[in-house]
């Protein structure tokens, strides 16, 4: 297979803070996985992500941060002190197709005059223009500004964010997407362009149904803990996270062909274990419509289902839903994910040597003509490729 982005060169310039540096690193990592030659430019003090814990074997070190390792595989790395060494950056950019930056290291006018075919992608918390242009934000504030934070958490406590920062991943993914749209346009116009990525706007894309409910019905969805809304025409909520014998599972009482099949299968699972659930077992699934159940009816059914789930483990639940071809999955943790036979069968994990340790990296995000993009190298040490990169540029 010819690598998808063979021959494409991408320069990544870290942002000033962890948020911006993570977002551009993820964007460039995606392009690197697809075969682009990515050169990461770091300040002499190193990228701020290098200092973020946790560390490999819990020993701090500039090359040992696991966020750093995850975001920077498949890249080469050079050191540049900017703005002092801007001429070297300019030389580097003259050989590049895409610049991904976390702040305006290269502004639009400079890019347009010195390299008109360059695609310049800038990722910032709120975008390059508008009332909040330049406002600092980390994952928590970006998520707060997007509606996503208001939609997560217990109703009687503060909204919560995912403990592993998500907005740099979203923003980085959209930056890579924007770069590829700009490259498609360049094929016709021969001109590069600017791509202005907003973290806030990126996080607005993670909850479209809430936006549609507001737009069409002026219904405001709010955080409901473990419950789903938007499945009922009478406003009932449905539990989606349940306790089980040794953790939690994800399941919902649903209608539609597959939801009714799931209900039937759960009922037969209960019967097979002589489990008493008089209301749930009395459901006529052929005509079942979850959209019109009252909250009282939903609560009564969920009481019985919850009692059943507390008698089975995550592993039993997973095996049970697979065997019955019904909806539902365990709430997995990292150890469960590594144990999943599906991922092993698809050769998802790719062992990569990092400082003498073989780490099983998540492999490329898709199979292209049956092949998964590979982890070709671990992340660069600071300035590791200074000589080979600058010698080639000046040669």
């Amino acid at each position: 297979m010819t690598t998808l982005l063979d021959g494409l060169r991408v320069i990544e310039v870290a942002g000033d803070d962890v948020w911006g540096a993570s977002a551009v690193a993820h964007a460039a990592r995606i392009l690197a996985d697809l075969g682009a030659d990515v050169i990461k430019v770091e300040p002499p003090t190193g990228d701020p992500v290098r200092a973020v814990p946790p560390f490999l074997h819990e020993r701090a070190g500039a090359d040992r941060g696991l966020l750093w390792i995850a975001l920077n595989a498949n890249k080469r790395g050079v050191r540049l002190e900017l703005p002092r060494e801007r001429e070297r950056l300019r030389a580097l950019l003259s050989s590049a197709d895409v610049l991904v930056q976390g702040r305006e290291v290269v502004d639009a006018a400079t890019a347009a005059s010195s390299s008109p075919s360059l695609v310049v992608v800038t990722v910032t918390p709120y975008g390059l223009a508008g009332p909040l242009a330049g406002a600092p934000a980390s994952d928590l504030e970006v998520t707060a500004s997007s509606g996503a934070l208001a939609l997560a958490g217990e109703p009687d406590r503060a909204p919560v964010r995912t403990t592993l920062a998500q907005s740099p991943f979203w923003s980085g993914m959209y930056a890579a997407m924007g770069a590829l749209f700009a490259l498609a346009a360049r094929a016709a116009t021969r001109r590069g362009q600017r791509v202005d990525v907003s973290g806030q706007a990126s996080m607005v894309t993670v909850h479209p149904p809430a936006c549609v409910h507001w737009d069409v019905a002026k219904e405001e969805h709010r955080r409901l803990g473990a419950f789903l809304i938007g499945r009922s025409t009478v406003g009932a909520r449905f539990r989606n996270i349940w306790e089980c014998a040794d953790g939690h599972v994800s399941f919902a009482i649903q209608g539609g062909p597959i939801g009714r099949h799931t209900g039937r299968m759960l009922a037969s699972w209960m019967r097979g274990r002589d489990f008493s659930a008089p209301r749930f077992l009395a459901i006529d699934w052929d005509g079942f419509d979850n959209r019109t159940l009252t909250q009282e009816q939903v609560d009564a059914l969920e009481g019985e289902v919850g009692a059943f789930f507390r008698t089975i483990t995550k592993r039993e639940f997973f095996a049970g839903v697979i065997e019955r071809n019904m909806l539902g999955y365990p709430v997995a943790d990292a150890s469960d994910v590594y144990a999943d036979p599906q991922l092993r069968a698809r050769a998802f994990w790719q062992e990569t040597q990092i400082d003498g340790t073989a780490l099983p990296f998540p492999g490329g995000f898709a199979l292209f003509d049956g092949e998964r993009p590979r982890i070709r190298r671990g992340p660069p040490r600071l300035g590791e490729h200074d000589a080979e990169v600058f010698d080639a540029v000046t040669a």
């Binding site: 962890v18 946790p54 490999l56 975008g127 508008g130 909040l132 600092p136 980390s138 504030e141 970006v142 934070l149 997560a152 958490g153 919560v160 964010r161 592993l164 991943f169 979203w170 959209y174 930056a175 997407m177 924007g178 590829l180 700009a182 346009a185 094929a187 016709a188 001109r191 791509v195 706007a201 993670v206 479209p208 149904p209 809430a210 936006c211 549609v212 409910h213 405001e220 473990a226 009922s232 025409t233 989606n240 996270i241 994800s250 399941f251 539609g256 959209r291 839903v321 697979i322 999955y329 365990p330 997995a332 943790d333 990292a334 999943d340 599906q342 991922l343 698809r346 998802f348 099983p360």
Partner: protein
């Protein structure tokens, strides 16, 4: 393109001008890929059937005036913005034949049915590539086209749990909470668009097509890679920790004067802590020297959170945010979804667009979160009504005569 059949002629060039996409799929994960391509100029033809309606047309609220109907469904109109829509009953061989004729005119096919579904209808990868050898095919499904769980049906909200996101969301002393909606589906949408664009990039260079097998599960795991590597490297099992962060302290969501109006704020260095103290009016408790270091603040984080909440409760969200931002600190109001529609920054970026729709009156559409300076996205049209472009596509594009079209329609091929 031989016809624009209902498409407005482009006023400025777009990234995917001249690219045609045929899309077979429903709900979110497949169709939203097509929406991104359509808003950048591709002619996306969404193929569906009234004999097995998209759940976004039949099941998922909201519906116009709360009355269920395929052309009254807000979700479908949003998720299929910018496309043309045709109906084909693919259980009929003549419908399959028309689908393949459509594919011969296409550059990209997107399908998001459970693995093997289309092959059983005679529309597997081999059949599609026979129709168009340099085709880019994106097959996006729950767990991928191969492996022991390839056939397992699933919804995005539960797949999100399987990938490990929910384990990382919530209070340590309570059950995990949900990530709103099918969170992982939108990750798969993003990677799906990227995969298609990268494959088109190669096709421009080499002329080769590509078959892309996208497992929504594997796409989602990309966003969890640091937590996965942490487990592999250190044997620890990352879990939810409310709003705490491993670097910033304090780092949390605090109440304001008004009920259920919250503020997010974070302090990332000792220097920022000094400015934060000053913003609070340098109270006695904040001057304690041990709070001058991150380690000292972390040791007393619960107490710190209580003190900060005492301050925030006396102010409005806007006061708190402007006070902290004025000192270069990170703070933001926790906006509700309704508030997003009035957000000045999103308005400046023209994130929200409006479009007419025959069944819904008018619907809101969302621009992509990246703005292209020369070839901007144009999210201008709501999703099609059921079969809206049947005549334009089957007569206009494929050249069926009026008599042929009427005969096929009478036989229910366009159902």
């Amino acid at each position: 393109m031989t016809t624009t059949g209902g498409l407005r002629p482009p006023s400025t060039p777009q990234a995917l001008d001249g690219v045609r996409v045929v899309e077979l799929g429903w709900a979110a994960a497949g169709p939203l890929v097509g929406t991104y391509l359509a808003s950048h100029g591709a002619d996306v033809i969404h193929v569906e059937s009234s004999t097995a309606l998209d759940p976004f047309r039949s099941t998922y609220p909201p519906f116009k005036d709360n009355v269920v109907g395929p052309d009254r469904a807000g979700m479908f109109a949003f998720y299929n913005a910018g496309k043309r829509g045709v109906t084909l009953d693919l259980k009929q061989p003549r419908a399959v034949e028309l689908a393949l004729r459509l594919v011969t005119t296409a550059d990209v096919v997107i399908e998001s049915f459970p693995a093997g579904t289309l092959a059983r209808r005679g529309l597997g990868h081999d059949a599609l590539r026979r129709a168009r050898p340099d085709l880019v095919i994106l097959s996006s499904c729950n767990q991928g086209q191969t492996g022991p769980h390839a056939q397992h049906p699933g919804y995005g909200s539960q797949l999100t749990a399987l990938a490990g996101f929910n384990e990382l969301l919530g209070e340590p002393d309570r059950t995990p909470v949900i990530l709103y909606g099918p969170y992982i589906d939108y990750i798969a949408v993003g990677y799906g668009v990227i995969a298609v664009l990268a494959a088109l990039e190669r096709r421009r260079r080499t002329g080769e097509g590509c078959v892309i097998d996208l497992s929504q599960y594997e796409a989602g795991l990309q966003f969890l890679s640091p937590a996965l590597l942490e487990h592999a490297a250190n044997g620890t099992v990352p879990t939810r920790d409310a709003n705490h962060d491993r670097v910033a302290v304090p780092h949390g969501v605090y109440p304001s004067q008004a009920d259920d109006r919250w503020v997010a704020l974070s302090v990332w260095s000792d220097d920022e802590w000094g400015r934060f103290r000053a913003a609070l009016g340098d109270p006695e408790w904040a001057r304690q020297p041990d709070l001058g270091t991150a380690a000292g603040r972390r040791a007393r984080e619960a107490e710190l959170d209580t003190r900060i909440a005492e301050w925030t409760r006396d102010h409005t969200r806007e006061e708190i945010v402007s006070t902290l931002r004025a000192r270069g600190l990170r703070a933001a109001a926790v906006e509700s979804v309704g508030e997003l529609f009035d957000d000045p920054q999103l308005a400046h970026r023209r994130v929200w667009r409006r479009a007419a729709h025959a069944g819904l009156g008018e619907v809101g559409l969302m621009a992509p979160p990246f703005a292209l300076s020369l070839t901007p996205a144009r999210p201008e049209r709501a999703g099609p009504t059921l079969g809206e472009h049947n005549e334009a596509v089957f007569k206009g594009l494929l050249g069926l005569s009026g008599a042929e079209y009427a005969a096929l329609a009478a036989d229910g091929v366009f159902a």
